[in-house]
């Protein structure tokens, strides 16, 4: 019951916000998102008390092809749901004090997005999962298309076609899995059990991998990303980078690894190499980006490259690191894009050449921004460190030289992030930015929430590690061939 409530409450909220009119849309949406967050907190206590069984939902849906309404909330799903539902209030708060036309539609779509994302993370039936996966694309597509920047039409189309092409491959993959499955079902328990010949696993790997690789994105399937992040409205970018790309990394763990272990064993080395190349490639490009949002897009690309590399390292450190880093990256990247938005809101530019001296004018903002930057460069006692340490160690266990190469992110990350901070925030005030009002209450609240999580998770990551461990361990056992 709780599972259904968690899933459908945002859908109902989306409808209510749409009907509630533009004036109260933001407050209404915030209220619903906070209620959902409270529900999540309650779900965590239930989970701690009685484990994943309490969240099991199974209802036959379509007789033929056999599709069932199978939902489940294990530790891994719960972590992803926690991330989603924590970020939602922050994302909605970030839209306060901004002029948004057709606000009821906007916030309604954000909540619809929440519904779809939760669906992706808790669906335990292949086709049901696929439906949520595609459903998640719709709200963000409209958010970018209707509320985006000047180039939005072309950019959004590229994004849409790109990801849809990947998704169709995945759909095809699922159909083939169904075909190979003697039990004729999409149920994850069946899919985890079925035997697929090595040859078939080998090419099926690509149908799933490409879909996820576009979503994450893994280099070289990333060229939609920077443009989309830049053109989408801030909340859209936050949804995309903070949560939606985790659909890809989550799915690697949930669907690809355990179902196609032979395919993963065969192509994993190539995939991890791509990921690691992507880390360094994106980090180097990030060093010379003047547009703040472009820089953040490339930095995000580097981070998710490392997350994916940790997954393909196929060991518990890498997997745990990826889960921790999914959460950390989600929190940090939302914070970073929010800071970019705050800057844009005051100065109407995000070109770092035209910025500087903000720290003197807005000390509170400067401190919050700095802490988020530090989380992003993985300073110990911030959330980014735990993830990066485990991920790099996972990659090290996989291959020493690969970890040396991936480790360059430690240096390059500091270069591009601190350069950016220096150009944007430090220096003499007044030269380029004449005035800059410090944080409004909604910004203070949202950034405060993020900062607390950044430091809290850095000091005490155990709850997340403990939640994810059993699931990851059992998935890891399935990859042993």
């Amino acid at each position: 019951m709780l599972t259904l409530l968690l899933l459908f409450f945002p859908l109902a909220a989306a409808l209510l916000v749409l009907l509630g009119g533009a004036r109260n849309a933001s407050r209404l949406a915030l209220g619903f998102a906070v209620a959902e967050l409270a529900l999540t907190a309650y779900a965590v206590t239930v989970f701690q008390a009685s484990g994943p069984e309490a969240f099991y939902i199974f209802q036959p849906w379509i007789e033929s092809p056999k599709v069932s309404f199978h939902l489940g909330l294990d530790g891994l799903s719960l972590v992803m749901v926690m991330l989603t539902n924590f970020l939602m209030p922050v994302i909605i708060l970030s839209a306060f004090h901004r002029n948004i036309h057709h606000a009821s539609g906007y916030f309604s779509l954000i909540l619809l997005m929440q519904f779809a994302l939760i669906g992706v993370f808790i669906a335990m039936d292949g086709l049901l999962y696929y439906i949520f996966w595609e459903l998640a694309l719709i709200p963000v597509y409209f958010i970018a298309l209707r509320w985006g920047g000047a180039n939005r039409v072309a950019v959004t189309l590229k994004f849409f076609i790109y990801t849809l092409a990947g998704s169709l491959l995945m759909l095809f993959g699922f159909i083939m899995l169904y075909w190979y499955n003697p039990a004729q079902s999409f149920d994850i328990r069946e899919l985890y059990r079925i035997y697929i010949t090595d040859g078939n696993q080998s090419w099926l790997f690509w149908t799933f991998f490409l879909a996820f690789a576009v979503k994450i994105p893994i280099v070289p399937f990333h060229t939609w990303q920077a443009d989309t992040y830049r053109e989408a409205p801030t909340q859209g970018t936050m949804l995309l980078s903070g949560i939606m790309l985790k659909m890809g990394t989550y799915s690697l763990i949930r669907w690809l690894l355990p179902i196609l272990p032979v395919g993963v064993a065969k192509w994993g080395p190539l995939a991890i190499t791509l990921c690691v190349i992507g880390i360094v490639y994106a980090s180097i490009i990030a060093m010379r980006q003047r547009n703040l949002k472009n820089l953040l897009a490339y930095s995000s690309l580097a981070h998710v490259g490392l997350i994916s590399a940790g997954i393909f390292a196929l060991n518990i450190q890498g997997l745990q690191g990826s889960v921790v880093q999914m959460v950390a990256h989600g929190v940090n990247v939302v914070g970073l894009f929010f800071c970019a938005d705050i800057i844009f809101n005051r100065t109407v530019t995000i070109n770092s050449d035209n910025l500087g001296g903000i720290r003197t004018l807005a000390p509170q903002f400067a401190t919050a921004f700095l802490i988020i930057v530090l989380g992003s460069v993985a300073l110990p006692l911030t959330n980014g460190f735990i993830g990066e340490f485990l991920l790099l160690y996972g990659v090290y266990e996989y291959n020493t030289w690969l970890s040396v190469f991936a480790g360059l992110t430690v240096i390059l990350g500091a270069v591009y992030m601190l350069r950016m901070y220096k150009k944007v925030m430090l220096g003499h005030p007044g030269a380029r930015v004449p005035e800059f009002s410090d944080l409004y209450w909604n910004e203070k609240l949202a950034l405060g929430m993020l900062v607390v999580v950044i430091i809290g998770m850095g000091i005490y990551p155990k709850p997340i590690l403990d939640l994810a461990e059993p699931v990851l361990q059992s998935i890891l056992n399935k990859t042993i061939i």
């Binding site: 033929s64 092809p65 599709v67 086709l127 719709i138 298309l145 849409f160 076609i161 790109y162 092409a165 759909l171 159909i175 169904y178 075909w179 004729q184 070289p220 990333h222 060229t223 490639y281 180097i284 490009i285 990030a286 060093m287 010379r288 980006q289 490339y298 060991n315 518990i316 450190q317 745990q320 001296g357 720290r359 003197t360 110990p380 006692l381 735990i386 340490f389 485990l390 790099l392 160690y393 090290y396 266990e397 970890s403 040396v404 480790g407 360059l408 430690v410 240096i411 500091a414 270069v415 601190l418 220096k422 430090l426 220096g427 003499h428 005490y460 990551p461 155990k462 590690l465 461990e469």
Partner: protein, 649 residues
Amino acid sequence: MTDKHKTVEESLDQIRTTTFLGLLIPLLPLLGFLVNGFLGKYLPKSVIGWIGSLSVLGSFICTLILFRQAGPTDAIQIDLFSWIALGSIDISFGLTIDALTLIMLMVVTGIGFLIHLYSIGYMHADEGFTRFFVYLNLFIFFMLLLVMGSNLLMMFIGWEGVGLCSYLLIGFWFKNPSYNDAAQKAFVMNRIGDLGFLLGMFFILFHFGTLDFSTIEQMAPSLVADNGLLIAITMLLFIGATGKSAQIPLYTWLPDAMAGPTPVSALIHAATMVTAGIYMIVRTNVLFAMAPFTLAVILWIGVATSVVAAIIGLKQNDIKKVLAYSTVSQLGLMFAALGLGAFSSGIFHLVTHAFFKALLFLGAGSVIHALHGQQDIRWMGGLKKLIPITYITFIIASLAISGFPLLSGFFSKDEILAHAFQQNLPVWIILSLSSLLTAFYMFRLVYLTFFNDFRGTEETRSHIHESPWTMTVPLIILCVLSVLGGLMGLPVVFHANHWLNTWLADVTAPAAAILHQGHHISHTMEVILMSVAGIGAILSILYARHVYLTRRSVPESDEAMSGWGKVIYQKFYVDELYDRWIVAPAFKLAEWLGNVFDKHVVDRVVTLTAGFLDASGRTLRVFQSGNTGSYVFAMVLGIVVLFIIRLLI
């Protein structure tokens, strides 16, 4: 029965007290940081300064109490909680206080307190006063984690944490772009070392299954067979040390770091943080002792850094730059000691150096304070009478660092030189040379700053005044320590028993068991060496006196420089070299990858694929008309397709 019960109760009590005190040591500065950080804007300056200073004094007092109770073989273990635990890894958030940690704690909290006190006076007029104390307390907290961490990862928290504070404090005056550049350079160069540290940890974690110092120490001897592994581990850790402790090739950030306020230079870039690399190697001495190759590398890097930095120091005209290169040089000397396997000698010099180098920086700060920001010694001179306390303490510190007989630096330096003489004559010669250079550039600095006539403007001169007591008291205390610091390591020749070696014997025992150092040189030889070094130092000082006092030479202006003098003044153009061969190509590559390759090659490939996609895209566009209905339709269609496939099977 009751008696026994009572003693158990008492010893439990004892453990509780020590745990409590041990926890207070890092917590007090953290508390100071939090109070000043959150409530600072409501508090008057005087209160902020004292909160900052007294929190560190509190830690110092706790350290003293623990020190009084502890014996050299005791180790207090405080495990707070399991930090990162998964699979077979279990890294605890734990602290250890043993003999080595206690020494470091006394240096960090003791000198840390004095420098906090000094800062109350030094920073009183700065608009960032509160921020300064907030950062300074945070630094102390991280430094304490660094020296108290019971495993490598805990040490790494402190290690990067102090790097952050160093970054914040170098760029403290963040309106100045060149200061910001210096701060960023420091952070990035440290990060290069940190990657080495991180990879070293991975090797250890993988092969030992733990990062715990005590477990590593126990397990290491069983790894003797695997030479390559040990070399890899120790070399990687040493790379980390070269970053933090400013050794070749990663030393160039430290002179630039002088952009920070002078108390920062004294605390972070002389006495504490930059010695972290030495502490780290001594902490893991058993690994290094088993890797003779790495020890040789450390030795020669240390020797080279020591002499190169000393040469550069000869020609610098910024009072802080001279001291910065001197620090690099002295750190090189400490690394040379470690390379010779003389771990406790390295620590001995670390401690005495902390005394006199902190004093020199604070003295320099007092000079700069008196001259309202002037740092160029060409515009100083004749300050002897005007700021007498600063003068006297500065000159004593200079004597100490030069190795003037019986002052603290004399003993700690001679111990290292004696080890060098015994094991490796060329090293002894080079290090002795570097000592002579040290004595020379230090007294060049002394004579140019304090003697002869004032060379600045009359206006500046009229404002020169001695610093307030919060600044002079730390000078005096550090001066006493610089004189007497050698007592902790009085050699056997003086019929003492070298207290520090005895105190650290348990810490360095694992290395000692492996290295089997040969017989000590004879006492006669030791006395001869000491005399040679002492006389050399005095002659060098006299030569500086001749040049800069008697002949009244003043370094030429920047434009007039030429030849080798200019090359040395320009620090052998190493910064330019790095910029040209590393930084510039990296940025060029970034530019090309971002603007050309990513846009035109990667995206082109995508467009080609899109040729295929376009066809499907056109078809798709039919039901991408933009309304939700068509998506539902698409989905239904998908299900129908599935249904058809199902029928076909």
